[in-house]
């Protein structure tokens, strides 16, 4: 049963990713990315990570995709890309390199020693466990994230101010 859910979700995730790269319109790309994020959120649920499932949906599928769609529509950038590459050999070489990377990674994964089947504890990945770790062992990194977000906010404001000065 779990395997069927995994297979369907994995196929959806791959379709979303490939369609995101392949679609010409940037709005379609953002929406296919949303499909992919949703599928990955379901996989988190299968991996007993309900907290990350919620975080993925709120931050990625909510905030980040909305930001992308907003900027794409603000810039009207959805049809700006012309198909002619300035370096004609770039695209085939890029595809070959990506294929090589895939082969390499797949080889490493396949070559992994066989692992014992996972036995899940009852309370594994519960939000309470994560919160306990977050506010004890990882308290310092957790506070550093506040500074990261502050730096991002200041950066965005500064970028916008410079823009104003030029006009």
């Amino acid at each position: 049963m779990e395997l069927i859910v995994f297979a369907v979700t994995a196929v959806i995730a791959i379709i979303g990713a490939v369609a995101m790269v392949a679609s010409k319109n940037a709005v379609h790309s953002a929406l296919f990315l949303l499909l992919n994020f949703g599928a990955i959120a379901v996989l988190y649920l299968l991996l007993r990570a309900p907290f990350l499932f919620a975080t993925q949906l709120i931050i990625y599928a909510g905030a980040i995709i909305v930001l992308f769609l907003f900027v794409v529509m603000l810039l009207g950038a959805e049809r700006h890309e012309d198909n002619r590459d300035r370096l004609a050999w770039q695209r085939p070489v890029a595809l070959v390199m990506a294929g090589l990377l895939l082969a390499e990674v797949a080889y490493v994964v396949v070559a992994l020693p066989a692992q014992a089947p996972v036995t899940t504890d009852e309370g594994f990945g519960a939000p309470e466990v994560i919160a306990e770790q977050l506010f004890t062992t990882f308290l310092l990194p957790f506070q550093v994230t506040a500074f990261i977000i502050l730096a991002a906010i200041v950066g965005v404001v500064v970028l916008h101010m410079q823009e104003k000065r030029q006009v």
Binding site: V21, L47, Y60, L67, H80, H160, Q166
Partner: protein, 100 residues
């Protein structure tokens, strides 16, 4: 029960799709989306290994990665808007000087 192996293989596949997107697309917005896809595939591998080892630390690392990704997207998109205002393009082949 799904073997961890399948999750890691899926994660590798998604990562390679993201790399392909960064390499072949010329629209800076789609390049940024491909970077997000790669971050997500790495997150998936982390959660899969956390599940395999029954250790919640991997999930916490994913939480921090999500925070950094959100900050990165906010700053990256602000940069793109600024570049678009001055150069009227999002094609990364046209953005080839450091001067604003």
């Amino acid at each position: 029960m799904v073997p961890t192996f399948y999750y890691v293989l899926l994660s590798a596949l998604l990562f390679c799709v993201g790399v392909t997107g960064v390499l072949i697309r010329r629209n800076a917005l789609v390049v940024l989306m491909s970077v997000e896809l790669m971050l997500n595939s790495a997150n998936l591998a982390l959660v899969a290994f956390a599940h395999a080892r029954q250790d919640v630390t991997g999930q916490l690392l994913v939480f921090f990665v999500i925070v950094v990704a959100a900050a990165e997207v906010a700053v990256g998109l602000a940069l793109l808007v600024t570049i678009f205002r001055t150069k009227q393009t999002t094609n990364i082949d046209d953005i080839n000087v450091l001067k604003g």
